[in-house]
Amino acid sequence: MKLTEAWHLSRIPYREVVYRSLAEEKGRMWWGAFGRSQFDKEGRSDFELTKRVLRIAKFDKLVVALFCVISSAMPFTSLFSGSRAIGLAISISLSLSVTFGFTALYAIQTLSSFVSAESSALLFTLPLSKDDFSKITLFSFIRSVDYMVVGAIVSQVILVAYLTVSPFATLLMFVASIMNAVFAVTVALWFSRFFYRNLTRGGRSKSGTFLRLVFILMWGSLLLGVGLLLSIPWYIVPHLEAALLSFNQLSSLFFFIVYPFSAGIAIANLVYPNAAFSAVLIASVAMIGYVMLAGVAGKWSLETVKHVSQGAGIKRSRVANQDFSIRTHSPIFGYVMKDLKISSRNPATAFFFALPVLETLIVSLLTTNYQMLRVSTVLVATTTGGIFALLMPLALLNAEGTGLEYTKTLPVNSNRIMTSKTLISTATYVPVPLTMLAMSFMKQMTSPLAILIPFLTILAIASASIFEIKLFLGSAADGKIAAVARDAEKMVAGVITALIPLIAYTASYFISFDHVTAILAMGGAAVIELAVALHVLKHS
C-alpha cells in the first residue's frame, strides 16, 4: 500500500477517536469548548452531529496549534535581554520546554481516547497486511497531534534560522524540535496508557487509587511547569542567566546535561562559540544521548500505538469476588462520591483534582516575593486561585458524559446535581484562603482585615459554581445530554460572579480609603450573590 493511500485511510480510525472523545465528552482543554452553544440542537441528527464533531475537532486542533506556535515563539523575547549567546540558549531551551509541556498536555487529552477506543479494531477485520495495518494506525495516531507538532517545529526552526542565519544551527534546531515532539508524545502516551491500565485493572485496591493520585499530581506539575514558563519568564530568565554564567557551579553543570538546556547551549554555541570547550563538549555529548533516547522513545511509541489500536496490551484481571456488599449514602453525599469517582477516573478531567495543589503553589509563589502582604497581592492571589477553582464545574459536568442519561431516570432533580458539583468546586478553592492564612502568619499585612478577602470569596466561588452549572444544565435541557458541558462561554458568568465581591472591595476602598468599609462592601456583595444563587438552586 502506498503511503498516500495509508494516510488517506488513516482518517477512518482517527475520526473514530475524535468522535468518541467528543461524543463521550472525554474532553479537550477548555479553550476548545468555545462556540458550541448550538451543539445540542444540531445533535438531533446523528449525521449532523458527526459532521459537527469533526468540525469542532479541526477547530480545536487549529486553535491549539496556534496557541502552541505563539507559546513556542514567546520565549525568544529573552534573546533581547543580556548576553546574546546566553539569550539564545535560554530562548531555545524555554521554547522547547513550553512546547514539550504543551504538546504532552494536549496529547494526553487526545490519546486517552486513542488508548481506550480500540480505534482500529474495525480495520483489523479487513484483509490488510500487517505492514499496511501498522502504517494506517501510525498515521491515525499522528493525525491526533499533527497541527500542533508541525506548527511548533516550523516556528522554532524559522525563528532560529532568522535569528542566527546559520544553516547548522537551523538543522540542529530542526533535530531538537523533532526530538522534543517525540519525547512529548511518548510521555503523553505513557501517561494515558498507564492511567487506562490502572483503570481497567479494576478492583478496590488502595494502591490503584494511590497510583491515580500520583498520576494526577504529576499531571498537575506538568501543567504548573508550562504555566510558570508561560506566565513568568521574566522570573525564570534572570535565574537561568545567572546559573549559565557561573559554569564552575554545580547548577550550571546541571543545565549542560539536562534536556532541553543541553540543546539550547549546543545550538547557541554553534552561533556564538565563546563558551568553555568542556561545557560545549558536555552539552554536545548529552545531545547525542538524547537523540538516541528519542529514537528508543519513538520506537516504543510506535510499538505501543500498534498494540493499543488493536485492543491488545491492556491486561484485564478478573478477581472472583463473592462480597457483593455496597455502602449507601445520603443522596447528596452519594452524588458527591459518584462525581469524585468518575472525574478522577477520566484522564481528561482527573488533573483538575490537582487544582488545589496548583492553587497553593501559585498563591505561595505570588506572595513569597513580597516582604509585606499587601491588599493588592491578596486580591490578585485570590482572583487567580478562584479562576482555577471555577474550572472544576466544567470538569465535573464533562465527566458526567452520557451517563447523565441514566441519572435522568433516577429520582434526582437538578438541585442535587448542582449542590454536589458546587460542594466539590468550592472545596477545591479552600486551599487558597488557607494558604493565604498561613502566609499572613509569616508576613506583615498592610491591613489584617485583608485576610478576610479570600475567605469571603468562598461564598462567591459557591455562587459562581451554581450559576455556571445552572447555565450548563440549561443548555442540555434540549435533549442532547452528551453535550451538557461543552460551552465554556458560560464560564464567563462564573468568573464575573467571583469577581464582583472583589470589585466591590476595590471600589469601596477607593471611595472610602477604609478597609473596614471595603470588607463590609465585599461581604455584602458576596452574601447577596449567595442569596440569589441559593434561590436559583432552590428553584431548580
Binding site: L199, T200, G202, V319, I326, M337, K341, E405, Y406, P411
Partner: protein, 259 residues
C-alpha cells in the same frame, strides 16, 4: 387503576413523527409487550414514560404521577432498562449500584441484601469491581437489570432487556419479570424476540410508524389476521404489512447472492 397510562401521546423530532396518538393503559399484574419494526416508536414511547423525553402532545401518568410535572414521584416508582445500557463507564458495578441505591434512598441493609441476591443470581462475581467500560454488553445489561430491580418498583420499563444475556441470565430475567407482575407490578416490555413476547407478555401492542395498530392477547391479535395457529412473528408481519416485503426481499437476495 392503571399503573401506566398514556393519552394522545405524540412526539415529533423535526419533520419526523416518531409517535402519534399513543393510548395505553397497563394495569397491575400485566406484562405489556410493545412490538414493532425498527424505528416504529417503541423506544421513544418508553423514554417518554420514563421522563427522559418530553412529549410533543398528550400526557402520561406513572402510578398516577406525570413524569414531566412530578418527575421525582414518577421516577421513584420506575425501574428502567435502556435498549443500550448507558451507564457510568468508569464506575464498577459496585460503585454504580451504590450510587443508584443512594439516589433511591434505600437503606443499607435492604440494598445490601437485594444487590447480593441479584448479583449472585446473575453471576457477577468476577465483574463486580471491574470498570463497566470493560464489561461485555450482556454484563452491562445485567448491571442495568439489577439497578432496575434494586428498589422493587411497582413499574418496570424494559427496552430490549435481554440484549446480550446468556441463556441462564435471560431465563432469570424473564422469571423475575413474571414474578414482579404476579406480585402486583406492571411491566412495559419492548422486544424483537417474538418467542419471548409470546411466552411472557399478557397483552401485546403492535406499533408501526408511531401508531399502535393492534392490541390484545395473542389470540385476539390472531383473530385480527384470521390465522388461528399463527406465530406472533407471522401475526406481526401481517399486521405491519411486511409479509410480502419479506418474501420479495428473500427471493431477490437469493437470486443476487446465492445464484
Amino acid at each position: 387503576m392503571p399503573l401506566i397510562e398514556t393519552s394522545g401521546l405524540s412526539k415529533q423530532f423535526g419533520s419526523v413523527q416518531a409517535l402519534a396518538d399513543l393510548n395505553l393503559q397497563i394495569m397491575p399484574r400485566e406484562i405489556y409487550g410493545l412490538l414493532g419494526p425498527n424505528g416504529a416508536g417503541k423506544t421513544t414511547s418508553i423514554k417518554i414514560i420514563t421522563g427522559l423525553v418530553e412529549p410533543t402532545s398528550g400526557w402520561v401518568k406513572v402510578a398516577g404521577f406525570d413524569p414531566v410535572k412530578n418527575p421525582i414521584e414518577a421516577k421513584s416508582r420506575i425501574g428502567y432498562v435502556a435498549e443500550n445500557p448507558i451507564l457510568y463507564e468508569s464506575l464498577s458495578p459496585r460503585d454504580f449500584l451504590e450510587f443508584v441505591a443512594s439516589m433511591r434512598k434505600i437503606d443499607q441493609n435492604t440494598a445490601n441484601q437485594r444487590v447480593t441476591q441479584l448479583a449472585d443470581a446473575f453471576d457477577m462475581a468476577q465483574y463486580f469491581d471491574s470498570p463497566i467500560a470493560t464489561l461485555s454488553m450482556g454484563m452491562k445489561q445485567k448491571v442495568a437489570l439489577i439497578a432496575s430491580f434494586v428498589h422493587q418498583p411497582p413499574i418496570l420499563l424494559l427496552d430490549e432487556p435481554l440484549n446480550g444475556l446468556d441463556a441462564k441470565s435471560s431465563r432469570i430475567a424473564k422469571d423475575l419479570v413474571s414474578l414482579h407482575a404476579q406480585r402486583g407490578g406492571a411491566v412495559l416490555f419492548s422486544t424483537h424476540i417474538m418467542e419471548v413476547a409470546e411466552h411472557i407478555c399478557t397483552r401485546i401492542g403492535i406499533i408501526h410508524q408511531g401508531k399502535v395498530i393492534a392490541e390484545g392477547t395473542l389470540d385476539q391479535l390472531r383473530s385480527k389476521t384470521g390465522g388461528k395457529s399463527e406465530t406472533l412473528e407471522e401475526v406481526l408481519l401481517k399486521l405491519t404489512n411486511e409479509e410480502t416485503q419479506v418474501a420479495d426481499a428473500t427471493r431477490m437476495l437469493g437470486e443476487a447472492i446465492f445464484k
